[in-house]
């Protein structure tokens, strides 16, 4: 019951005029960012971090703004999936499968309405899940010592790449690269400058925010140029409102609930984000209820399940981020960067030390969902019209907002160069299919991982055995090994010549 008291306190924090306005702006911007192809949640949150930071918002307010953008993206992504058959962001990919056929059959208003309601159901259930499960995880993690934290970070790095798609060796290589970059600068414990080559701008290390904006937003522009999305001039069907009859909504209620549960679990688990959440929700729903072969041809349940799934996963991903300080997805890693640069140490103590931040955030997520459903049902016409914004107008704007945000933090052209350098690095890594998120995670968590490592060893007087002594630490290492084994196994199966086995991903 104490949770309810905290929640009430959270609503008191969230319902200040400033925070309400920030939540509204965040929801609106988020929906746009999600809806526009080429701008996903990671990029959107990344370019807004320096802005929030240089406005010197209170930590709770900054986090409210960016989390509302994050939730808004999850709502917005489906709009272009349905209208254009182009996912507005990665998690909305599965929504294309049934959303676009529905729009072609003239049922765009129904598809938009059902997906908006599914987003709402998924996000609300996940936020409730966050309230219930995050404090439990905190109670468990409070017993973690330095050795256990070190093990937890090892697990986080091993699993951040997820179990599908990428080459596990490249994920781990990216994590090591990020950790290596993270050690640049003055060592906080001994005062020794490391790997700075006498460049005094590097004494503070690489600024994680500068690196993030470069790695995500700037590299995105370079990738986009060669994919030739230069001239998307979308001729979307004019839709002024989203509407569905109660009967149709009721028919997909089951799909929404099942999708929410699957998505939430996928979100909480390490190494799985919203994309995997919506993928699992769609495939499970298809297996469960596609009796007449209507999936893929415009079945409303094929829209409801993945949308509930990706929104629930977005909420679920906040559980490990807030309670352990270990993000499970790219966007939550970026949100973590915000916390760290505001001098807030994430982890189990966050709930004790900064109840305003945690519960204010949770309360405004509830509020954001009601705002978002209100925006996405009647105002959907506005967002569909924005899909016609051409890339040549959007991308220069994104680049310039990135520059202005970074510049307004430090007023140093050096940081702008670093951002561009990280942009080029991000582009090269992406071309080589080396994931960027582990690099960011290494930069972010490297310092904390090192300090736990050294604290553990100073407790034991330099004996490395302390790292493997507690049951929790051993359990975490075993989990890491199991996860890696699974990733390698799946990776080998995926590389088999086509035709050896039907691919579940393309059916």
């Amino acid at each position: 019951m104490e949770t309810l008291g905290f929640l009430a306190h959270g609503f008191a924090v969230a319902f200040t005029p400033l925070n309400i306005v920030l939540a509204l702006i965040g929801c609106f911007l988020g929906t746009i960012i999600g809806a526009l192809p080429g701008l996903g949640p990671v990029n959107g949150v990344a370019i807004l971090i320096p802005v929030a930071f240089s406005l010197q918002l209170a930590p709770a307010s900054a986090l409210i703004l960016l989390s509302c953008v994050y939730y808004g993206c999850m709502y917005g992504g489906r709009i272009s999936s349905i209208m254009l058959n182009i996912p507005g962001d990665e998690p909305a990919m599965m929504t294309c499968l049934d959303g676009y056929p529905m729009a072609q059959k003239g049922k765009a208003p129904e598809a938009l309405a059902i997906s908006a309601i599914a987003s709402f159901v998924g996000a609300i259930l996940a936020t409730i899940g966050l309230v219930l499960f995050a404090p439990l995880l905190v109670r468990f993690a409070i017993h973690f010592g330095p050795a256990e934290y070190f093990a937890l970070y090892v697990l986080a790095f091993a699993t951040i790449g997820g179990i599908t798609g990428t080459n596990p060796a490249k994920t781990l290589l990216a994590a090591a690269l990020g950790l290596a970059l993270g050690t640049v600068g003055i060592d906080p414990q001994s005062g020794v400058p490391r790997f700075t080559f006498g460049v005094f701008e590097l004494f503070d290390g690489f600024d994680a925010i500068v690196a993030i904006v470069g790695l995500f937003a700037i590299s995105e522009v370079l990738v986009l140029l060669e994919e030739g999305h230069g001239g998307i001039s979308a001729r979307a069907v004019r839709v002024s409102r989203a509407f569905a009859q109660g009967r149709e909504i009721a028919a997909s209620a089951g799909a929404m609930l099942r999708g929410s549960v699957i998505g939430f679990v996928a979100g909480v688990l390490p190494g799985a984000g919203a994309s995997l959440g919506s993928f699992l929700a769609y495939t499970m729903e298809k297996r469960y209820s596609d009796r007449r072969g209507t999936f893929g041809k415009g079945d409303p349940r094929g829209v409801a399940a993945p949308e509930a799934g990706n929104n629930a996963a977005a909420g679920g991903a906040l559980v490990p981020m807030l309670s352990l300080g270990v993000p499970g997805s790219g966007t939550t890693a970026v949100l973590l960067a915000l916390l760290i640069s505001l001098n807030i140490t994430p982890g189990p103590l966050l709930f004790q030390k900064e109840p305003d931040v945690v519960w204010g955030l949770i309360a405004s997520l509830f509020f954001a969902n009601f705002v978002l459903i209100a925006m996405n049902l009647p105002l959907v016409g506005l967002f569909t019209r924005m899909l016609a914004i051409p890339m040549w107008a959007l991308m220069p704007f994104v680049v310039m907002v990135s520059f202005v945000g970074i510049y307004s933090i430090s007023h140093s052209p050096f940081d702008l160069f670093m951002m561009v350098l990280f942009g080029v690095l991000g582009y090269v890594l992406r071309k080589l299919a080396i994931p960027v998120v582990p690099v960011v995670l290494g930069l972010l968590l490297g310092a904390d991982m090192e300090s736990n490592f050294r604290r553990a060893l100073s407790i034991s007087g330099g004996d490395y055995a302390i790292l493997f002594q507690s049951g929790i630490a051993i359990g975490l290492y075993v989990l890491t090994l199991l996860f890696l084994a699974l990733a390698v196994f799946l990776g080998m199966r995926e590389r088999r010549p086509p035709g050896a086995e039907p691919e579940p991903a393309h059916d």
Binding site: K170, L225, E226, G230, K431, F453
Partner: protein, 147 residues
């Protein structure tokens, strides 16, 4: 199938980095009262960095397509803008530098000349108004030719 040269080159670069990292870390002395010191963690990181680089060298993935025409021209132009912009921001002032950079980027992304110019002026002026005047983050306004 391609030969995986890209991954081999990347692996070699990162392997060199790992070795350099290990060697450089060795110079950081252990201070008293700290049994591990500032060198242990970088060395611990250099090991997987080196090992996975070796993996990349011996088991590379197929090469990506590096140069996709006509995207390369646009990428080169964009890169030029990205590098020049920080240099020109303070001498030219924010509105002018931003307008120029956005106009070139818009042109690269396929806008007509007039549209690109209009967009440049809108982005340069608009962002200056929003950030400097409304949000109160000071940005350099006028060109200063003192460099």
């Amino acid at each position: 199938m391609t030969n995986g040269l890209s991954d081999r080159v990347a692996g070699a670069v990162l392997l060199a980095l790992a070795v350099a990292f290990w060697v450089a870390a060795g110079q950081y002395a252990v201070t008293f009262g700290d049994p591990v010191g500032p060198a242990a963690f970088p060395k611990l990181v250099a090991v997987p960095l080196g090992l996975f680089s070796l993996y990349l060298i011996f088991r590379p993935d197929p090469d990506p397509r590096w140069f996709v025409w006509p995207g390369v021209v646009g990428q080169a132009a964009t890169l030029a803008v990205l590098v020049l912009y920080p240099l020109l921001l303070e001498p030219l002032g924010f509105p002018l530098a931003t307008a120029l950079a956005s106009a070139v980027l818009a042109r690269v992304l396929g806008a007509a000349w007039l549209a690109a110019l209009v967009l440049g002026v809108a982005v340069g002026g608009g962002l200056f108004l929003v950030f400097d005047s409304v949000l109160g983050l000071p940005l350099p306004l006028a060109p200063s030719f003192s460099f």
